[in-house]
């Protein structure tokens, strides 16, 4: 057999291999160390950092690993190593590093320090799943990676077992997750029957032929969307989101809201762009194969998602739950950018994701710090906190303003690029709906600030002091949020360079 191609493939998946090795190391170290597990989180950070460096060093190369299919002109593998995947891998790895730093200071995780080895091993499982997911171009590899990601995250959602709501979150996440992944697998099996392959590139070339049963394909694609929609928590697959986000440990909530959503979007982009686009026009707009109207579906999903997310967030008193609904709304904006079906739209998604990661992680981190001290995420317990702990207050102002999308913060730049892409595609009605949604979101974000600054502190309010380490981690998130609001060109350039190679 062809050993050189196997060698090639292995070289292309070096980051994943390194990650797997670190997973094993974490497990073994956890076995060897009996009680003192303080070193494991640092080991985890080291692993993510090493993998990140490898990803950066191979960012501008591209190729296919595990060649399984070939047409007359090209060979296609199961695993595409390209800058788009590299972008998402970097995003996921940096978010993971932040999450591990969060866990070092989180009191929830400290209470279970004896099992912390398992915690980080499961996190590695999630990251491995996501890294494979963002690069996979074969439906079966996608399914396997998705399951690896999901199975680890079900356990993590109920990991601490400190309160009832932990196990309830895990149960709900697991039930919705297994159902949607089961539906997705059935959809994949139908696509396999229709086209005889699971490779997205080959599916594309077969869909361009005339002999495809449109109705069956429609059914299959909708089933596959159930799996993807679950990961990005798009309406109507969002029911798990608020409950799981509220019940899971805050660090995991933050992780699910950013990293696993990013992986879901990477998957969606790949499925549409590789599977269903016949050619990319010179103006950057994608011409779809006329078998499935992705634009209508995505616009519908996006309008439903952002409206429902924003309207439900209005009357939430638990901040974690509010941020959950707000993350649903943000998913709506991102789907809208994707619905333009253009390269600009994808650039907007990527830019938005960088900024969304910063501000969402920051917001969840502040909620975590306050919950660690006061034991509550209720908005009434934030009364007057802006004066008693000014550092957290000011940071939260910046992050929430950025989540609304007002200048001079990074969120504004993200929304700006997003709306430019939408207007470019001449989708004016949807753009107006999105702007109205942003106005609605202003209310519930500012409500938090009202409680922090304009409401008198009740007797039960405790003063919250962030420790030095927590301040540094928070600054690492808040300063870029401000900085990128003013000086965003490098981010935009970097993102565009990750897209240029993208082509059918």
């Amino acid at each position: 057999m062809d050993l050189t191609s196997l060698n090639n493939s292995l070289r292309l998946i070096t980051p994943e291999i390194i990650l797997s090795i670190f997973l094993v190391i974490v497990v073994v170290v956890d076995l060897i160390l009996k009680s003192n597990k303080k070193v494991i989180p640092y080991l985890a950070v080291l692993g993510f950092a090493v993998t990140g460096i490898v990803v950066i060093s191979s960012l501008d190369s591209s190729g296919f690993a595990f060649i399984t299919a070939s047409t007359s002109s090209k060979q296609f593998g199961m695993f595409a190593h390209d800058p788009l995947g590299g972008f998402f891998k970097l995003l996921i790895l940096s978010v993971s590093i932040f999450i591990v730093l969060f866990t070092i200071t989180s009191s929830e995780i400290k209470q279970i320090h004896l099992r912390s080895g398992e915690f980080y091993a499961l996190m590695y499982g999630m990251v491995l799943g996501m890294m494979v997911l963002v690069s996979a171009v074969d439906l079966i590899l996608i399914y396997v990676a998705l399951e690896l990601l999901s199975l680890s995250s079900y356990v993590l959602a109920g990991f601490t077992k400190l309160r009832d709501r932990n196990s309830e979150a895990a149960l709900k996440y697991m039930i919705y997750g297994v159902v949607s992944s089961g539906l997705m697998l059935f959809g994949i099996s139908i696509v396999y029957g229709l086209t005889g392959t699971t490779n997205l590139y080959l599916i594309n070339s077969l869909l361009q032929g005339p002999q495809i049963n449109i109705l069956t394909l429609l059914f299959a694609v909708l089933l596959i969307m159930a799996g993807v929609g679950f990961k990005i928590s798009a309406v109507p697959f969002h029911f798990w989101t608020p409950d799981v986000y509220e019940g899971a440990p805050i660090t995991i909530t933050a992780y699910l809201s950013v990293a696993s959503k990013a992986a879901g979007f990477a998957l969606l982009i790949r499925v549409i762009q590789i599977g269903f686009v016949s050619f990319v026009g010179s103006d950057g707009f994608w011409n779809l194969i006329p078998v499935f109207d992705w634009k209508a579906l995505l616009v519908l999903l996006s309008v439903l998602t952002m409206t429902l997310g924003n309207l439900s967030a209005l009357w939430q008193n638990n901040l974690k739950r509010m941020l959950a609904y707000s993350s649903i709304a943000h998913a709506g904006y991102l789907i809208l950018a994707l619905a333009t079906l253009s390269t600009q739209g994808v650039v907007a998604v990527l830019i938005y994701f960088i900024f969304y990661a910063l501000m969402n992680l920051g917001a969840f981190y502040i909620v975590m710090i306050i919950a660690d001290r006061t034991g509550s995420e209720d908005i009434d317990d934030y009364d007057g906190l802006g004066y008693t702990s000014s550092f957290l207050g000011v940071s939260l102002i910046i992050l929430l303003v950025s989540l609304v999308g007002l200048p001079p913060t990074a969120g504004f730049i993200g929304k700006l690029y997003l709306f430019i892409a939408v207007l470019d595609a001449e989708m004016y009605v949807v753009a107006v709906i999105a702007v109205l949604n942003t106005v609605v979101s202003l209310y519930y974000y500012l409500r938090v600030l009202k409680h922090m600054y304009l409401t008198k502190a009740s007797d039960s309010t405790q003063s919250v002091r962030a420790s030095g380490g927590e301040k540094i981690i928070l600054l690492l998130l808040v300063v870029p949020t401000l900085l990128f609001g003013i000086y965003f060109q490098p981010i935009v350039d970097f993102t565009k360079s990750c897209i240029t190679v993208l082509g059918v």
Binding site: M1, L3, L6, V24, V28
Partner: protein, 153 residues
Amino acid sequence: MLTEFGKIFVFILLAVAFVGIAIFAAKLIRPHRPTQEKLTTYECGENPEGTPWVQFNIRFYVVALIFLIFDVEVVLLFPWALTYQDYGLYGFLAGIIFLVVLGIGMAYEWQKGDLEWARPKPNIPYLSNLIKKNTDQTSENIIVEQTETNQTT
């Protein structure tokens, strides 16, 4: 010539016949001496007590789950076993790595004590134990009585 469904029909006939003949043959051969004892649910010769729908120890489930995983993972060795020779040393190493990772998983469970059957400590009936137990029971009874009286009042 049979149709495809005809083959299935023959298959079903054979299956029914196999079971039927086995039961019938056993009935012919075995001695037939019914007693009351033989009608009871089998429980090691003891008279059965209570309902069979008792709750099992949770350890059964944990061990079953662990078994399930390791049992099914081995299915992945089938495709490997069919093709590893084509890849020479590489193919062999790939399988070995898979098995080593499985082994680490096994070691992990062993070390974490999930394979241990948490036996209750043997309760050897020393005299001092018995006295202590009796006094405990009486004190418990007193507490129960107290709570009952509280509820009634």
